[in-house]
């Protein structure tokens, strides 16, 4: 088995005429990652995934899956790789089970029991004989996962797998992703649902207008949003003067509370100074930015 990372994109570019959909994307997904690929709609997530799966050719750069470039070696690069882009698509006039048989045959064939097994995993065994044309959106999403699992993948690429699902369907899908990750499957999850990414992913990349603006662990990203404090006092004007006297920059009064950024030692000194100045502290609360705040901050700031 190759030691190469599951996904390695270098200088990946996709242009459609004047439009640059993906711009010099550098990305490494390591084994065991549940990697969140975040970005607003139209940021280039799906285009990147299409290039990873060999569906579209990069204008420049390359992407390797376990060391193999699908644009150089074709379907061989997809050994051990599964997933779907823009939602899974099936033949509506064939049953769910027949669709899986078709895909299994294209992969070289699997035992009939394996098809039943994956239908069981996604809880579709009872509906396996029904035509996919009659399936709900959620059932098709689950069938998409089943089709991916047939390949016994080491890497799963999922493009917004919970989009269009009801809350119960979203919960089930997340549980499924957790189970698959626990089984050792590396997962790249493209999403703009931040709570989902926060719940599932250990590493993330944020893409905006085709370019990666952050890549790292989710922990580091969330930590970068620490060090903010919210302060309520008996006299906010005097408190603000104390903060400024302690060299705190940008102590803004928002919604009746002072918002400022400082390290722990500075906060200790400030609270003592406030007491000495006769300013009563009602609340001094550390505030860690949510992923949503960080994401919006990054993507809107870049705009």
């Amino acid at each position: 088995m190759s030691d190469a990372p599951p996904i390695e994109a270098r200088g990946l570019v996709k242009r459609y005429g004047e439009l640059t959909a993906v711009d010099r994307v550098e990305l490494t997904v390591e084994r065991g990652d549940v990697f969140g690929y975040l970005g607003p709609n139209g940021a280039g997530k799906t285009t990147s995934l299409r290039m990873m799966l060999g569906l579209i050719a990069p204008t420049e750069g390359r992407v390797r899956l376990f060391g193999l470039d699908p644009h150089e070696v074709g379907a061989r690069a997809l050994d051990g790789v599964a997933g779907f882009v823009e939602g899974p698509r099936f033949y509506p006039y064939l049953s769910g089970r027949k669709n899986l048989r078709l895909l299994a045959d294209l992969d070289g064939g699997v035992a009939a029991s394996r098809i039943e097994e994956v239908l069981d995993v996604v809880e579709l065994r009872d509906r396996g004989k029904d035509r996919v044309g009659g399936y709900s959106h959620g059932m098709r999403q689950r069938l998409g996962i089943a089709a991916s699992l047939l390949r016994e993948p080491r890497l799963l690429l999922l493009d917004e797998p919970t989009t269009g699902l009801d809350p119960a369907g979203m919960r089930d899908m997340r549980e499924l992703v957790k189970r698959l990750s626990a089984d050792g499957i590396t997962i790249l999850l493209s999403s703009h649902i931040l709570a989902e990414v926060e719940e599932l992913c250990n590493r993330v990349a944020i893409i905006r207008r085709g370019s990666i603006i952050y890549e790292g662990t989710l922990g580091e990203l969330l930590q970068s949003g620490g060090g903010d404090y919210r302060l309520r006092t008996t006299d906010q004007e005097r408190a603000r003067a104390v903060l400024l006297a302690h060299g705190v920059q940008g102590a803004d009064l928002v919604d009746g509370e002072l918002r400022f950024r400082a390290d722990a030692a500075e906060v200790e000194a400030i609270s003592i100074a406030l007491g000495r100045a006769g300013v009563g502290i009602s609340a001094l609360v550390p505030h860690t930015a949510t992923l949503e705040e960080l994401f919006l901050g990054m993507t809107e700031q870049a705009a």
Binding site: P92, L94, L103, L106
Partner: protein, 268 residues
């Protein structure tokens, strides 16, 4: 490639348009026989037309002439023009292209399935025409285009060879449909475009001034089977049909293959 082909055929078998096409190719000779049993007269100006009521063997040959104008091209285009475009439109192309098969294999499977359907449509017409006409007028020796008698058994063998040779220009139409289907990604445009192209070939064949190129037009190859029904057999049109049609098959298929191999498969 065998597995891809198997599933392409199974997909065709699960679609209504396949049955519509096959049903039409069986219905035409049936209607033809029914009409001729009700009416007097017949297609006397068509090769073998004057012998239509002498033996059931004549009917499939006569119907072949009528169906070559637009019915068979349409029946072929229904599937060949749809086989790639529909998958592109429904998004299933990306589903199968992310499995363990190279694009070339997928394309080859589709070509083989479209050709299978085309040959099946031609033979379905032949068999239904033969059976229906034999029921109506009996199965007797056939009079060849040279006026000599052809025994029933030999006549059936010649019919088999005729259907086989007739399938070859049909494959040329199917290849063109496949190319359009791949390039346009639009099922309706591919079906209509293929039919228009087949009609254009027929039209070129009757326009004055086109005599030098006529032997190399696709429409002309639908008459190649006449060579089998001459005494002795005239192999010149048959051999010409084989190589001329090979070009009509190979060129669009190669163009379609290149597009299929290199195209971006994005959302439609």
């Amino acid at each position: 490639m065998t597995r891809v082909y198997k599933w392409e055929v199974l997909k065709l078998l699960a679609q209504k348009r396949t049955y519509l096409g096959l049903g039409a190719s069986m219905a035409v000779p049936l209607v033809f026989v029914i009409v001729l049993t009700i009416q007097k007269g017949g297609p006397n100006d068509i090769p073998l037309g004057r012998y239509i009521r002498q033996t059931g063997l004549a009917t499939p040959f006569v119907v072949l002439f009528f169906m070559s104008i637009w019915a068979f091209p349409l029946i072929t285009a229904l599937v060949a023009g749809d086989i790639v475009a529909a998958e592109s439109h429904n998004g299933t192309l990306k589903t199968i292209l992310t499995r363990s098969r190279d694009r070339g294999e997928i394309f080859a499977g589709k070509v083989a399935a479209a050709f299978t359907y085309t040959v099946l449509a031609v033979f379905a017409m032949g068999v239904v025409g033969l059976v229906a006409a034999s029921v109506a007028w009996g199965l007797h020796p056939l009079t060849s285009l040279s006026g000599s008698a052809v025994s029933t058994g030999h006549g059936i063998w010649l019919l088999f060879l005729t259907l086989l040779v007739y399938s070859w220009p049909m494959a040329g139409i199917a290849a063109f449909g496949l190319m359009l289907s791949t390039i346009t990604r639009n099922s309706a445009a591919s079906v209509v475009g293929t039919l228009m192209w087949a009609l254009l070939m027929q039209l070129l064949g009757v326009l004055p001034g086109t005599e030098p190129i006529r032997p190399y037009l696709l429409g002309e190859q639908f008459q190649a089977w006449h060579g089998f029904l001459r005494t002795p057999a005239d192999w010149v049109p048959v051999v010409r049909a084989l190589w001329v049609c090979a070009l009509y098959v190979a060129i669009p298929l190669f163009a379609g293959y290149l597009v299929f191999l290199r195209r971006d498969v994005a959302g439609e």
